[in-house]
Amino acid sequence: MSINRRDFLKTTAGTAAVASTLSIFPEVVEAKTGELKYEGEAGKWVSTTCQGCTSWCPIQGLVVDGKVIKVRGNPNSPSGGRICPRPHLALQQVYDPDRVKTPLKRTNPKKGRGIDPKFVPISWDEAINTIADKIMELIKAGETHKYMLMRGRYTNLNEIMYNTFPKLIGSPNNISHSALCAESEKFGRYYTEGFWNYADFDLDNTRYILGWGADWVASNRQTPWFMHQFGKVKDRAKITTIDPRLSATAAKSHRWLPVIPGEDGALAIAIAHVILSEGKWNKSFVGDFADKVNYFIPEKEVPTEIELDGKVIPVVFEEKHTHGVIAWWNLELKDRTPEWAEKLTGISAKEIREVAREFAEAGSRAISWVTPGTAMQPRGAYASLAAHALNGLVGSVDAVGGILQGNSVPSVAAPDVKPYLSEEIAKALKNKKIDQRGTKGFPAINQKSGGGVVTSRVAQAMMDKNPYDIKVAIGYWNNWVFSTNGANVWEKAMETLPFFAHVTTNIAEMTMYADIVLPAKMHLFERFGFVTNKQNLHGYMSIHQPLVKPYGDAKTDETEVPFLLAQALAKKGYDAPLRYFQDNFKDPQSGKIPETSEEFDLFAVKYFTKAIWSGESNEKGDTINSWEELLDKGVWKTKKFKPGKKIDNFKTETKKFEFYSETLKKVMIEHAEKNKITVDEAFEHANYTCKGEVSFVPHYEPAVRHGDEATYPFIFSEHRSRLNREGRSQNSPWYYTTKNVDPGDENEKDVTKINPLDGKKLGLKNGDKIRISSIQGSLESEVKLWEGTRPGVVIKCYGQGHWAYGRVGSEVFGSKPRGGNNNQILIHEYERLSGTNPRAGGFARVKIEKI
């Protein structure tokens, strides 16, 4: 290093001095937006949104001299402006030396894992024209339905790239990643309380939290807010965490229930059994027997009548805000004692009773908190249903201190595309979607048969050309070759796809199959966008804006790319998309017609957020009166949600909280009729064991395990990292230097956590290199003997094992992974009722060999 560089450091640094320090946080002060100034250079905190996980936190970046150098929470955020570790890693993501800086084209026609695509740089013009030509070929051949858009993570501007653009070119195939996320979690809420969404929690007033795989100080939703609240909640409430692994949250909980993976449903069912048999349900919410006698006697049905002093008296349960508690007991719960559950769950009957009592005694202030760990299992829809139904038993649904739905955020719908569709294009839209949703094997009953996406099925459908073949596909912000179970299935499917364009920041595994690569702006710091979500009992909208200009020639995936395509298509003779964009997305402030992709990007985000910045929503929450004010504040939030209004007004068939789900019954009857099968057959096709009436109450379903126990003696369980930015932080060096903040994990490594007893049996010690194999595939890893692991279960964090993405994330870019991708051994399996891709529940049995 030269002395010149050192001098440079000194002169730049030495003259820097903070001039203004007005406080926004007491004690922990930083400067307000726009107020931080350095001598000789200006610095400014600018609002944007982090989408490193599903919390979608409003954050701010400090911009100095055209660069973003630090991050913090947005003080206007509903959760008070905290951030978790993830946004810090994003600094190394936006300034990742391996980012794509210009469009690329493939020069090696052969596609496959480990095959060098031989990418070469090309112009945007050439890249866009290549894609547009492919689309024109489909239009000319009358097979526009053979175009597919694959959406991974997204902002609400996906209305352009995902919702309207495929329609405008005549394709029904806008495929989202939702089924990789948590649809089976929503299943539980929907088929009890008619709410297909994520819950909120009244942490200020709760007295008990029963967390189902909930690692709420580390991952999933509202993470920084929950981190902030955890210590306070623990002061006044009891916290029990159910997880095969001693998670970050389990480590700090009062109780840890290390359930055998996949048996969460049995545990929930047994807890319900105890609550009813011991008379501990919430009488003011559920109701009571008319004579106040408890007829929920283990192993006995509730009688319809009893004889008392020679008189026959009917047994009446006066049910209040719920539906079907007697049916639930009679059909399922009566025999589901804690002793029954002990054998399945590995949790003692004594502890199950204690937990059930503690939980029920907290009454309407007890929260049963379901997360993907419990729901994203091959039969997880019923585990989700059972665990969520516990909230009904204690009456914490829509209650103070309980589990809540939340306020919605005003939005603007996308303008109607119909006037822009020719008869032929409109007809093409009526083709079935590629993912086989709504068929026998894939009910995906998001509110109706085929109402949800079956993301992962697209791979097989493409290979089978069933219902037809896909010829042209664009993917953005996604990496399904890496992120779906049975990763090798997607690898094969991508080999067969004739033309694929990937819009991405990095050359990801999926990009290695691309014909054209388009460099995407990084969401946090380089582009416009917005999201809506909920935190701390507020609904909110948070904006993304460019804090810095990309160093490369990157564009916004959701707006600029489709606009450029629309322009190219218009030149080639198909102008419907361009007309639609230019007619409808004039600048809401000046009325200007968008002529460039940058203008379209800006006008589109203004269009979709107008309900907020126009001031028309001020009465519902924060006051914002201009676009500029929205950019400055970065976030608009609703007033605080008030519980109690949903009761008896749930969007279920009965308007009640349904233990016996009339809502599920109706949908399943429709689904069976559509597929010309019986309802029992419909459940069988969906890989459930239930028959008859028990199907409509939360009930026990045996865990699915692939691989015979003799060959594959261990159950594989995976979890998330508090540093994972949905699999996009693995090219950040800081990820590896800090990795041991995930309990049991090691810095710079991708270890497999094994109980020391099992280690002894296998003759394994710390640091030994191993191969883990399932019937799906195998990966290489390193042993970590750790007591926070249930014996018989081996546990590994998801996220590492990239063989592309960058030179930090992979050992040899393009061929050799760094660590192991769990999806190589997780079976290509489904939770079919919701269409989801399971990752939890121990459905892969594995064997371990020392290498």
């Binding site: 000194k10 004690e27 030396p97 980012r99 001693l246 480590a251 160093y551 800090t738 007591e787």
Partner: protein, 232 residues
């Protein structure tokens, strides 16, 4: 009365996330391998009765700092406000301080930090992806998210090869009335920073209300980083 700064880490509120460690790296331009803010982790017990603890660590800014005592050039020294800080311009790199430090929070710069951003022009796809050098050239900085403000008051924003470095309690921020970066970054508000000599300060009143502990009290260093309550 002169100010005497200290820090409390409330382990009950700490959730062990490492945001402090990362914010420190952003603020202080520390390279990989040098972590002024870090943590100790421990798992003990036997399944299913297992306890896991996470204890954030940093320089303790000791009243009686062994590292200051042994430094032959006074590069490691105490300020009037009680910060234990270091002047790399007179550091001879003898590592005496590292040997004397019982906490392992002083680091030696074996190499020129971030020199890969000066020299490494390799890329995955020639002309299609960046290189480190290209990024630092475009950023006109040692690396793109380099924090120039760390260099306030003449301190080297990136410390030279052959010298030691460690946590300064973010004295460049405190001088401007700001809390250290790790304090601001903590999502759990587990850290309290302030003037121990001000009886009314949050740090002084909190210390009174709890039974604080320090690391390695038997070393007699009199640390000014205090821990209250328990992680579990």
């Amino acid at each position: 009365m002169a100010k005497k700064y200290g820090m409390i880490i409330d382990l009950h509120r700490c959730v062990g996330c490492g945001a402090c460690d990362l914010a420190c790296k952003s603020e202080n331009n520390t390279p990989v391998g040098i972590d002024w803010a870090s943590h100790k982790i421990e798992t003990y017990g036997v399944f299913p009765k297992v306890t896991y603890t996470h204890t954030p660590t940093l320089c303790n800014h000791c009243e009686d700092a062994p590292c200051v005592r042994v430094c032959p050039t006074h590069a490691m020294h105490k300020t009037e406000e009680g910060f234990v800080v270091h002047d790399p311009s007179i550091c001879i790199g003898c590592k005496s301080c590292m040997l004397a430090d019982p906490y392992g929070v002083i680091f030696f710069n074996k190499t020129d930090a971030f020199s890969d951003y000066v020299s490494d022009d390799s890329s995955i796809v020639k002309g299609g992806t960046f290189s480190k050098k290209e990024l630092s050239d475009k950023a006109k900085a040692p690396f793109p998210n380099f924090n120039a403000a760390r260099g306030a008051g003449g301190y080297e924003a990136i410390r030279r090869k052959g010298t030691v470095e460690k946590c300064t309690f973010c004295n460049h921020r405190v001088a401007q009335g700001l809390s250290p970066a790790c304090v601001v970054a903590c999502p759990a508000d587990a850290r309290i920073f302030g003037d121990l000599n001000d009886e009314k300060s949050q740090i002084a009143t909190t210390l009174k209300a709890h039974k604080p502990t320090v690391l390695l009290p038997e070393k007699g260093t009199n640390p000014k980083v205090f821990y209250i309550r328990s992680y579990n």
